[in-house]
């Protein structure tokens, strides 16, 4: 418990971490309380099309009469869901593959390491784009594909952790006591080596949000949901006169990505001194 308190204290002492956490808290509140916060129904088409920001529509309306502010507020749900789920998929795959490779070693490691090398060289954004273009752009597809193509970073981190952890006494003693290999992997190696993966996963969330926005911008987003990338794309043809549609939705993307980015970077900073001490 004291350890956790220390950890939080140290994390809070890093300025970018503080900014990131505050931004993230605001975002989560926005996503949860979207129905309360949004001034209008985000799907309703108002008669005032391309209306400049005013008291009724604080961020204006778009080409078909959506309230831009309400759309942006609801869009936070899409971005956060896609970011978190895609990054979680990549964390689970990465941790498992990396843990198995590092802990079991030998031939298993060689094969898995080569698989990682191959995946590392695959141009993932274009692959995502190709798959989504061919198989359809539902939100589920997008999340799964981003997750499936971004796990290598996590796997490499976990592999390194597993290699160093398996030399430690507590793992050796667990082995001596006859605990099965897979039980050691899941009970000791992964829980003890998970921190760098958490930091990296936070970064992956930003990456996933950017990928989704990019796909939506080139017309490969899920047409049934509200997404910031789509708002930017929809507003593009009304530039420069109706600047508010594109500008504000883009800022929403920037600040969301920034929040996860700052937290991820902060986490890495908190964790690095600890890791050097362990050596």
């Amino acid at each position: 418990m004291k350890k956790l308190k220390d950890f939080l204290k140290r994390a809070w002492s890093i300025p970018q971490m503080r900014i990131g956490l505050i931004l993230l808290a605001l975002l989560i509140l926005m996503a949860i309380f979207a129905p309360v916060l949004a001034p209008h129904d985000p799907y309703y088409l108002y008669d005032e099309r391309l209306h400049a920001p005013c008291a009724e529509f604080p961020l204006g309306t778009d080409g078909v009469g959506h309230c831009v502010l309400s759309q942006i507020i609801y869009g936070s749900r899409t971005s956060l869901t896609i970011g978190v789920i895609a990054a979680s998929i990549s964390a689970v795959i990465g941790t498992t593959v990396g843990g198995v490779a590092g802990f079991f070693g030998g031939k298993t490691d060689k094969v898995l390491n080569e698989v990682m090398n191959v995946f590392l060289m695959i141009p993932s954004f274009f692959l995502i784009l190709l798959i989504v273009a061919i198989y359809g752009s539902s939100m589920l597809n997008v999340m799964i594909i981003i997750g499936l193509t971004s796990w290598v970073g996590n796997a490499r981190l976990m592999r390194a952790q597993a290699i160093s952890l398996k030399q430690r006494t507590f793992i050796r003693s667990a082995e001596a006591m006859g605990e099965s290999k897979s039980s050691i992997l899941w009970k000791h190696i992964i829980p003890n080596g998970i921190f760098p993966i958490i930091a990296n996963t936070t970064m992956n969330i930003s990456g996933a949000i950017l990928s989704e926005a990019g796909l939506a911008f080139i017309g490969l987003g899920d047409p049934n949901i509200i997404s910031w990338g789509q708002i930017i794309d929809a507003g593009k043809k009304y530039l420069p006169k109706c600047w508010w549609i594109t500008s504000f939705s883009g800022l929403a993307v920037v600040f969301t990505v920034l929040a996860f980015y700052l937290i991820g970077d902060g986490l890495t900073k908190v964790l690095t001194p600890k890791m050097t001490q362990q050596k």
Binding site: Q16, E114, V254, V257
Partner: protein
């Protein structure tokens, strides 16, 4: 060393093979029957379909089809566009130059500026310059390229009326010779600016942390204790060692050059591969998309091998590791 290179080449070959296989499977499993698409009518003649299947080998077992596919690729045959019925490789070739021009010019600027800023910031850690640049770099790292492009157009073209919004040259004037070079350069300013602003933070941060790390190395401490002037230590030992990891980074960005500028091309209507990609998506021109993907995978694999080999030459620790 030789063994190391072979190992890397093998991995590269594996990547290419994997990409080819992946591409093949993706295209074969794609919804919609290509022969029906080629036959073109609502209710095509069954005989036409059979003939088309025969012609493209679609009635053969899947393994045979895969072998045929590889044979075609080796002959430089990447298939035909569904839309214009021209060879995919020709279509890509027409767009290649514009992309490379934009990418290379941007790359040179961003690497130079990024490294210079990074070295300076590392030397003056914690200074105002360092703090401000760090803050800015976080911001631009979180900015989607397409959005920044749109904002830059909004500011420089629409509001200030300084520069053209899109295209590669003035279509109305059709300049020749030197005037044309100037014209292209003029149209390049905004897309290059977008690219450079987005990527400088990346080089900046990598250089900064690499220089800082090297400055804390034990051998630098030792040099200091010998009383060697700080300037000389920095130029002769820190810089040399710190810039090593940057080789890898530059190599990787070069490999991804095509995707790196794709969004910028789309926003600025630059007639390169990014635009081609967008058009192919809207028209569902899968052969062109898969051709771009294949070329990209091959170029990434080749670049990665080159980078690794160059790096191994520069840093002996790597080649003796395995």
């Amino acid at each position: 060393m030789k063994q190391y290179i072979w190992k890397r080449v093998l991995t590269g070959a594996l990547v290419v093979l994997f990409s080819v296989l992946f591409n093949f499977v993706l295209m074969r499993l794609a919804p919609g029957d290509p022969t029906r698409l080629l036959a073109g009518k609502e209710n095509p003649n069954p005989a036409t379909i059979l003939a088309l299947q025969e012609r493209y080998g679609l009635n053969k077992p899947i393994m045979v089809q895969f072998v045929l596919y590889i044979k075609q690729l080796l002959h430089g045959d990447f298939g035909f566009s569904y839309v214009s019925n021209r060879p995919v490789l020709t279509i890509i070739g027409e767009r290649f130059g514009a992309t490379i021009l934009l990418a290379v010019v941007g790359l040179i600027i961003e690497i130079t500026v990024g490294i210079l800023l990074g070295v300076h910031a590392a030397q003056h850690q914690g200074s105002k310059f360092d703090t401000i640049l760090n803050g800015i770099s976080y911001f631009f790292d979180s900015t989607p390229a397409f959005w920044l492009g749109l904002m830059i157009i909004l500011l420089f073209s629409s509001t200030l009326h300084l520069l053209p919004t899109s295209g590669m040259y003035n279509v109305r004037e059709n300049y020749q010779g030197f005037r044309r070079v100037l014209d292209v350069g003029y149209h390049m300013i905004l897309p290059t600016l977008t690219m450079v602003v987005l990527n400088i933070p990346y080089y900046f941060r990598i250089t900064r942390s690499s220089v800082m790390e090297t400055m804390n190395e034990d051998y630098i401490m030792t040099l200091r204790s010998t009383g060697m002037p700080e300037k000389q230590i920095f130029r002769k030992y820190v810089l040399r060692n710190a810039l090593l990891p940057i080789i890898t980074v530059v190599g990787i960005t070069m490999a991804y050059m095509i995707t790196g500028v794709a969004f910028i091309e789309i926003v600025f209507a630059w007639p390169g591969m990014g635009r081609l990609m967008l058009n192919s998506i809207t028209t569902r021109d899968y052969p062109v998309l898969s051709g771009i993907y294949l070329l990209l995978s091959i170029s990434v694999a080749v670049m990665m091998i080159v980078v690794d080999v160059v790096y191994a030459y520069a840093d002996p620790r790597i080649r003796y590791e395995d």
